[in-house]
């Protein structure tokens, strides 16, 4: 009985938190709360999926912006042909997933840092395409290649908030399922050693493809939801490297390859996002400095530090064993 409770505890607490968050906008909280939380949900979904790729599958994919922009464009353009935006959100996720599947044979040929560089150029290519290509609406004029999202009359911040909540929670659940499944262990094996993985019977390409497509779909849905809130998309925003920076920062600060890492990281990134906005361009500088400090103090991220402290039996014990390690290293 106690074991059952312990086993389902995370699920129960996730359910309770979800319900509380779902009714929050109706509770008369300050109006900025839903706004902050909406961003948190979107960032959480992004970071969770980036953690799936970089932390659990060994895929240092630097192309989240491609999935975001493509899905958001798909959703927006569909609203121009009278498709409801919520259908467009799913279609956007599907478009991003399809795109991931199409590029995978070529990008998976590259390994490690080459894969990273190879994927980094992908959003840039898409940005250039969407700067010139206008599938619907008239010729370019004035405002560039941007599109308004149509058919949003009557959609309130509350609705968008709930959509954000849905994708945030979905990303946590998907992550939880994958990590406890055969797929999760297979991906971890590929991350650690792809040659050994292959000689142990793992179809490396296929498993990487699963991971890539799942991440693209959820990132895409999150991106489409975000732009349904923005109400407007243009290529240099949708395919901006800031999407990558945000997912990467949240994952690395929280703890890459740790399930709870993105959750903690996303909270910090949201705080940055709103509190540092007033400093304009200095914002990036400050984020960079904070990242360096965290990397020095906790190379495994905040949740990594928490894990190490727990394992060592307290912060003092960890510091003592760390300094012992340093002495031993010097003697060697």
């Amino acid at each position: 009985m106690q074991n059952t409770v312990r086993r389902y505890m995370p699920l129960i607490s996730l359910g309770v938190v979800t319900i509380v968050l779902a009714v929050l906008p109706k509770m008369g909280v300050p109006r900025v709360w839903p706004l902050y939380l909406f961003h948190f949900f979107v960032f959480l979904a992004m970071a969770n999926m980036w953690n799936l790729l970089a932390g659990y599958s060994g895929l240092l994919a630097l192309c989240p912006a491609a999935f975001i922009g493509l899905a958001a464009y798909t959703m927006t353009i569909l609203t121009w042909v009278d498709v409801p935006f919520y259908v467009g959100i799913i279609a956007g996720g599907a478009a991003a997933a399809l795109f991931a599947a199409i590029i995978s044979p070529s990008v998976f040929r590259m390994k490690g840092v080459y894969f990273a560089i190879g994927t980094l150029v992908v959003p840039e290519i898409l940005r250039l395409v969407f700067l010139r290509w206008r599938p619907v609406g008239g010729e370019l004029h004035g405002g560039g290649a941007g599109y308004m999202v149509k058919g949003m009359a009557g959609v309130t911040m509350e609705h968008t908030y709930w959509l954000g909540l849905a994708i945030g929670v979905a990303s946590v659940i998907v992550m939880g399922i994958i990590l406890r499944s055969k797929l999760g262990l297979g991906l971890a094996a590929i991350r650690d050693n792809d040659a050994t993985a292959a000689s142990s019977g793992i179809d490396v390409f296929r498993l990487k493809l699963y991971s890539f497509v799942i991440a693209a779909f959820i990132m895409g849905v999150a991106g489409a939801i975000f732009y349904s809130y923005q109400g407007y998309i243009e290529p240099s925003a949708g395919f901006n490297i800031k999407w990558l920076m945000m997912a990467l920062l949240a994952t690395v600060i929280g703890g890459k390859g740790i399930e709870g890492g993105p959750l903690v990281g996303a909270i910090i990134v949201v705080i940055f996002h709103f509190q540092l906005a007033r400093y304009g361009e200095l914002n990036l500088l400050i984020q960079g400095i904070v990242l360096v400090i965290i990397m020095l103090a906790a190379p495994q991220g905040i949740m990594g530090l928490v894990r190490d402290v727990r394992k060592a039996g307290g912060l003092g014990a960890l510091l003592r064993s760390a300094s012992r390690g340093r002495i031993r290293a010097r003697q060697l």
């Binding site: 499944s181 055969k182 262990l185 297979g186 971890a188 094996a189 991350r191 650690d192 050693n193 040659a195 050994t196 993985a197 292959a198 000689s199 142990s200 019977g201 793992i202 179809d203 490396v204 390859g257």
Partner: protein, 241 residues
């Protein structure tokens, strides 16, 4: 020959101008331990890589249990029943010993996660790793990792096990136990191709020896015959030794 589990004929593999394997042919009888020896650069590890599907041979065919497996991808060859260990241990570093073994059981045998996790402790016991069950592979010593290599390969239930230098890096004292483990694997009906430099291993553990030299097969036969063969002595020590 009905009993031959692995039949290699006319395998050649070139890397640029270097012929790593040249027209290599041999048969491996089911249930045997065959030793594969030869000086550095003889092509032993290349041969293992070709059999396991890491390299595609330029010519020749590999038949396993009567079936042509030439050019199949590595994961399919593993699933057909050929497992390997690496000379330098290549574990899944951030996984525990149990997970290392469970991964190979899951994907090598195509079973579910809980079935694999139930099967893993047995494999760990065979290889003396029960007490390391929850230790991450990256925290293990080389000696332990050598056994983990064997454990992971065993987990996929191979009918043919290719073991690349299991004794390298082990001390004299640790050697007998490794040989016992290999012998116990053979007892279960698994055929073993054993690459080794350590003569003690060759004398004590194997049924037949195949000697390779500069990418070609030189001699094969019983251990005592092979070790006294002048050609073998020459290729190791030079012509006038």
């Amino acid at each position: 020959m009905d009993e031959s589990i692995l039949s290699i004929s006319g395998i050649s593999k070139r890397f640029g101008g270097l012929a790593a394997l040249h027209d290599v042919s041999f048969d491996l009888q089911a249930g045997q331990i065959m030793g594969l020896m030869g000086p550095n650069g003889a092509g032993k590890t290349t041969l293992v890589n070709v059999v396991c599907g890491f390299y595609k041979p330029d010519s020749g065919t590999i038949r396993f249990e009567g079936r042509d497996i030439t050019g199949l991808p590595a994961h399919k060859i593993c699933r057909l029943g050929i497992a390997r260990t690496y000379q330098i241990p290549q574990p899944f570093g951030d996984l525990t010993a149990l997970q290392n073994v469970a991964v190979a059981a899951m994907y090598g045998r195509g079973i579910g996660k809980s079935a694999a996790e139930n099967a893993a402790p047995d494999v760990l016991r065979t290889t003396d790793l029960s007490d390391k069950k929850d230790v991450l592979a990256r925290d293990m010593s080389t000696i332990t990792l050598k056994r983990l290599e064997v454990a992971r390969a065993l987990a996929s239930h191979p009918t043919l096990l290719l073991v690349d230098e299991p004794a390298a890096g082990l001390t004299e004292a640790e050697l007998p136990r490794m040989l016992e483990i290999l012998e116990s694997i053979r007892q279960t009906g698994t055929t073993i191709l054993l690459i080794e430099h350590v003569m003690k291993v060759m004398r004590e553990a194997v049924d037949t020896i195949l000697v390779m030299h500069q990418g070609e097969t030189l001699v094969s036969g019983r251990p005592d015959e092979v070790m006294n063969d002048t050609k073998v002595v020459e290729c190791y020590l030079g012509e006038y030794a």
